[in-house]
């Protein structure tokens, strides 16, 4: 089972990796600049080696006094200063590369989320989506800032060193070349090793963390079972178990980095021994017939560790790559959604009047749910009509509201507004015509006033206060230190459900839209708040078209018409008295409620 999971993750990370490289295009200039600065720094390192070798050779072999080497010492200072500047530039340019990709991806995610709308955000836990936009996007950074430029440097810097060494001694060049046989191959070999180490280690640690978190989450349960001590023992046992397993894997995995370590050490040793023996005259080949000077030898020896350095640095950035690939997978889960279900935007235009709403044979199914949620829904809302939509939970009442709000598009059938298909209207103009109050209003960070004017940002304070009064917000805002300017959202100044619902009502009052969609706005409220909200609602509904999803008998009785939704269809429609008289579905549902407690 574990191997199966691994192969799945390997498969998906291939797409994720491809996506990662595609995103690099957005920051190609900065990635290239970062690599170029790194290469320039590498070239300066070669110059530095030549200068240092020349100085040692000068005083030791050529017997020059220090003062004669002044120009070399001066140049060395210049080279060091330049390398420092390049180091700064690399960091800043790399940041720009990462930041540019992060901005683009975050923007795309946000647009995707707003475009797909509540149909997506409702189904997912908020935390997971927020983490995609926050942490996962941040996790992309090092891939572009460090890993990609380093990938280029790992090939270019060793190449430059080989080009510098070969003209002096082909033997030394060959030692370097063959101890890292075919650099690309070596990189792949080491890369796989480094990646599998960091992945295995990371996997083990994250599984352990997940298990630890699971036991912490279950603590209230464990205490009820009086088993918290057993759980602490379990934490220890599982931890130890993982240690044994992971160490077995790591023992092998670390061998691959030991190989790189070994080759780089051995090549230095070989170069040193080769150079020493040729100086002593035991070896006489590899230098095109010119005897090696000490300057040549020191130059080559100094470059030997730098030849392997970019490869080793690439290894340290491998976890950036693994992290980015993991993040890319999470991001793609959001970006790779099937085409958005919400309405497309159309050019702004006037709305047909009057606002008569008609559902024509609307069908809609959801992924992963057999059959259609709506299987041919037909109904009409006349202007200023007050209609209650009732039905058992899961019948699709909220889906009907979502369709009207443009959060969802029907699979079949047509919604017609005053003779024009809803799909042809400009969605923002349409939404300007309606106000919606759900079961769980969201209040945003900011003042009460800002929350009330959500739908009309330019509203003057007189209008806002009138709306607050009408929605009974004033009754509690009066007692708050800042009145309507009290900031909410911070824990201390949180509002109760009922108060929040009244703020949502005030939004609707202020928006003053001709169509009102209500989704059980009083569900779960205490009696006092429920009363206040109901009274305010009564005022709000006057002279508007209202579609209410409700479980309340009182609201159902008060409606002009009741639509009974069951099995994805409107099965009954008419006023309450007529439907009760007809003894149909509504009657059955209500009497079933009254008999519900005798069922057992």
């Amino acid at each position: 089972m574990v191997s199966c999971m691994d192969s799945i993750s390997a498969h998906t990370s291939k797409t994720a990796r491809r996506w990662l490289f595609r995103q690099a295009w957005r920051a190609r200039g900065w990635v290239a600049l970062t690599a170029a600065l790194g290469l320039a720094s590498g070239l300066l390192l070669i110059a530095q080696a030549a200068l240092v070798a020349g100085i040692v050779h000068g005083v030791f072999i050529a017997g020059m006094p220090r003062d004669q080497l002044g120009s070399r010492f001066g140049l060395l200072i210049a080279v060091i200063g330049l390398r420092a500047l390049l180091a700064w530039g690399r960091e800043v340019a790399g940041f720009k590369a990462g930041a540019r990709v992060r901005s683009a991806v975050r923007r795309a995610l946000l647009e995707g989320l707003f475009h797909t709308g509540p149909a997506l955000t409702r189904r997912h836990a908020g935390g997971a989506l927020a983490s995609s936009v926050m942490e996962q996007v941040e996790a992309l950074h090092n891939f572009y800032a460090f890993y990609l430029p380093q990938l280029a440097l790992a090939a270019l810097v060793p190449l430059a060193i080989l080009i510098a060494v070969f003209p002096i001694s082909w033997t030394a060049g060959a030692i370097l070349l063959f101890t890292a046989p075919l650099i690309p191959l070596f990189m792949i070999l080491v890369g796989m090793g480094a990646e599998s180490i960091s992945q295995k280690n990371f996997q083990a640690l994250s599984r352990l963390s997940a298990q630890f978190l699971d036991l912490l989450r279950g603590l209230p349960n464990l205490r009820r079972f009086d088993r918290s001590q057993a759980a602490a023992d379990k934490v220890a046992a599982v931890s130890e178990d993982y240690r044994h397993h992971t160490m077995q894997v790591l023992r092998v995995a670390f061998l691959s980095s030991a190989v790189l370590e070994f080759f780089s050490s051995v090549s230095i040793a070989l170069v040193a021994v080769y150079l020493g023996t040729s100086y002593l005259g035991y070896l006489n080949f590899g230098t095109y017939g010119n005897p090696l000077t000490l300057a040549d030898g020191l130059f080559i020896l100094m470059l030997a560790p730098d030849y392997f350095l970019p490869l080793r640095e690439l290894g340290t950035h491998y976890h950036a790559r693994a992290e980015a690939a993991g993040a890319a997978e999470e991001i793609l889960k959001v970006l790779d959604r099937p085409p958005p279900t919400s309405l497309p935007s159309n050019p702004p235009q006037g709305l047909p009047q009057p606002l008569e709403i008609r559902f024509r044979n609307i069908r809609l199914g959801f992924e992963g749910r057999g059959g259609n949620v709506l299987a041919g829904v037909d109904f009409k809302l006349a202007p200023d009509e007050q209609v209650a939509l009732v039905g058992p939970s899961g019948a699709g009442k909220t889906t009907i509201l979502d369709l009207l709000l443009g959060f969802l598009q029907p699979d079949g059938g047509e919604i017609v507004i005053g003779g024009r298909p809803l799909a042809d209207l400009d969605i923002e103009t349409w939404r300007g015509q309606l106000a919606w109050i759900g079961q769980q209003p969201t209040l945003f960070h900011g003042t009460l006033r800002e929350n009330i004017r959500l739908g009309r940002p330019q509203a003057d304070s007189q209008a806002i206060e009138a709306a607050a009064r009408a929605a009974r917000v004033t009754e509690f805002s009066r007692r708050l230190p800042g009145g309507l300017d009290t900031r909410i959202g911070e824990m201390a100044a949180g509002l109760s459900r009922g108060q929040a619902q009244r703020v949502a009502l005030a939004r609707a009052f202020l928006k003053d839209a001709p169509l009102l969609l209500l989704d059980e706005p009083t569900a779960g409220l205490d009696l006092q708040n429920e009363q206040l909200v109901l009274e305010a609602l009564q005022a709000l509904c006057r002279n508007r078209t209202v579609l209410t999803v409700s479980h309340r008998l009182a609201s159902i009785r008060a409606a002009d018409r009741v639509l009974v939704l069951d099995g994805g269809k409107i099965v009954e429609t008419g006023c309450y008295d007529a439907l009760m008289g007809a003894r149909g579905r509504l009657y059955a549902m209500i009497t079933r409620r009254e008999g519900a407690f005798d069922l057992a």
């Binding site: 060395l76 200063g81 630890f212 759980a231 240690r243 023992r251 670390f254 409220l525």
Partner: protein, 574 residues
């Protein structure tokens, strides 16, 4: 940090064992380069005349070079293995310790934080502390050894150069990271704030997506999120400039040390006070020394994070244990429950949840508590579990004050099914065994049978061993709730407490579950807290809770006939 450093003590031996190869590997790097440099310079000098060339003993240096090459490889490998192993051991100790400290706090001692955030943070902070050894201590010790060792090596040839090297090494290893931390501290603090502002706007947008779109406010919110993003990016850019400056500083210091050693050494060689081969040795040793010091910058960063993690963890684990249980057993006279003018609030500043609340539940009586969200229903259950103690008044079980009950005895008498019953991410079997560790296979099936879940489990591909992580797709809310009921059955307790057991279930499942519970609790005391109307008629008594007080109580029929609060609450058809 201190309590956590204390936890490292049992691992001292392994930590020392791990430090040895770490230092050896760094020493081998210095040795390899220094000996190589010396060897070729001396050989080049000796090679100037055939006599000296012949007299030169090249056996020792070439053996030394190979020795260091192999030592470096082996020491690195040993270091990695030993230190990763030690890290895992430390992690075990840390987790066990933190868990044992947090367990008596849950859930009341952890209140005041959003639970999910808090637990996530604890896990992340323990992971961060785990880095203390491998990412902070090891590189510090290695850098320290090199900072002392290499200048000492140089001092044998040229004391002035050794002093210069020591100064540059310390500047690179200590001053540069400290400077970066100093200049970065303000920006770092801003970054935390900016990223939390971004998260707040993001989370509210996700939660309030419907409100935003319905009120055409999506664009406005996107702008808010975007301006938070831009502020964050600008802060990060400032930070990257600081990082760049610190990288530049390290490069300058490495180069500066090289330059100074050469400058001082060159003069000594020219005047004959120093062997030229030793100048080569000093040059290579200097370059190699900085390789060991550079990682200190990262270690400093980790140290900062680790300190913060330690501070946060400490804040949590040092909280007072909210409820302490006595150890002497009590002798309850029956399985009745009584609340005697109980008042309760979650915080001293918070509004009261219960106010002089009175309720008597007779042994084997079945009572439903009805109330709106936030009316204090769940608090009753929390008080009975003694997760909290009442602010005033007393709670009794079996005529014994709850404060006299030892924890184990209390738990044995209570079976709780809560709305948020946690399913552990293991097999169904293990989830059930948490409730009763010594249960036999037959007991498990019997419990599942009583919870009317045995057919479902028998049909799962792996039966009892099906992993609940995979159940996400297989199991419905109703089945999860039934699993919690099966756990309660295994507890075999005389008193059952149910907190909104049917929340989120459809009508069909709701009726079925209530029927199951009724059957199972015949002859036991049952307290069921709910705002759903289902099953009320079958209860011995219905209590309506409002504003922390009993608003009305009686049989379902009597209350409905009285057309009071219950009737008003139930004026809903589903």
């Amino acid at each position: 940090m201190r309590p956590f450093v204390h936890l490292l003590k049992p691992h001292r031996a392994w930590m020392l064992v791990g430090l040895l190869p770490a230092v050896a590997a760094a020493g081998a790097v210095v040795g390899l380069l220094a000996v190589s440099g010396w060897f070729i310079a001396a050989a080049a000098f000796a090679g100037l005349t055939p006599v000296t060339a012949h007299a030169f003993n090249m056996l020792h240096p070439s053996v030394a070079v190979r020795f260091f090459a192999i030592l470096r490889t082996l020491a690195r490998y040993a270091e990695r293995i030993v230190n990763h192993n030690t890290t895992f051991r430390i992690l075990t100790t840390l987790r066990t310790w933190v868990y044992a400290r947090i367990a008596p706090l849950a859930p009341s001692g952890l209140a005041g934080f959003r639970q999910g955030d808090l637990l996530n943070r604890i896990v992340a902070d323990v992971d961060a502390l785990d880095n203390l050894f491998i990412r902070v201590m090891t590189p510090s010790v290695v850098a320290g050894a090199v900072m002392i060792g290499v200048p000492l090596l140089l001092a044998a040839y040229a004391p002035a150069a050794a002093v210069a090297l020591a100064i540059f090494l310390m500047a690179a290893g200590l001053a540069v990271p400290a400077g970066a931390r100093h200049w970065g501290a303000a920006t770092g603090g801003e970054l935390t704030q900016q990223s939390s502002r971004l998260r707040i706007h993001l989370v509210e947008a996700l939660q309030g997506m419907a409100d935003l779109l319905a009120f055409n406010a999506g664009r406005h919110q996107t702008e808010r999120i975007w301006s938070a993003h831009q502020a964050l990016t600008a802060g990060q850019e400032r930070m990257s400039r600081i990082n760049g400056a610190s990288a530049a500083g390290t490069t300058l210091l490495t180069g500066g040390a090289l330059w100074c050693v050469l400058y001082i050494g060159a003069d000594l060689v020219a005047t004959g006070a120093l062997d030229g081969a030793h100048l080569a040795l000093m040059t290579f040793a200097t370059l190699a020394a900085f390789e060991a010091v550079t990682p200190l910058a990262a270690a400093y960063q980790y140290l900062g994070q680790t300190r913060q993690a330690a501070r946060r963890l400490n804040e949590i684990v040092s909280r007072p244990i909210p409820v302490r249980f006595p150890s002497a057993p009590v002798k309850p006279v029956n399985t009745g429950i009584a609340f005697e003018s109980v008042s309760f609030r979650y915080h001293p500043e918070a509004p009261p949840v219960l106010e002089a609340f009175n309720l008597q539940v007779a042994p084997s009586e079945h009572v439903a508590i009805m109330g709106a969200t936030g009316s204090g229903k769940s608090t009753l259950i929390n008080l009975l579990c003694r997760f909290w103690d009442p602010t005033a008044g007393r709670v009794f079980i079996g005529n014994q004050d709850l404060r006299l009950w030892p924890e184990a005895q209390l738990r044995q008498n209570l079976a709780v099914v809560s709305q948020q019953s946690h399913l552990f991410n293991t097999s169904i079997r293990e989830n059930l065994l948490w409730a009763k560790p010594d249960a036999e296979e037959a007991d498990l099936w019997e419990a599942l049978d009583k919870a009317r879940l045995s057919a479902f489990v028998a049909n799962l591909p792996d039966g009892l061993d099906t992993w609940t992580g995979e159940l996400g797709q297989l199991i419905s809310g109703g089945e999860a709730r039934r699993l919690a009921v099966a756990q309660a059955v295994l507890r075999d307790a005389p008193i059952w407490l149910l907190d909104e057991p049917t929340e989120g279930l459809d009508t069909e499942n709701e009726h079925a579950l209530i029927r199951t519970i009724r059957t199972l609790t015949r002859g036991r005391t049952l307290l069921i807290v709910t705002h759903r109307p289902v099953g009320l008629a079958e209860m011995d008594r219905v209590v309506v809770l409002e504003n922390g007080k009993v608003a009305e109580a009686g049989t379902y029929e009597a209350l409905m006939n009285a057309k009071g609060r219950l009737a008003a609450m139930l004026d809903a058809i589903w």
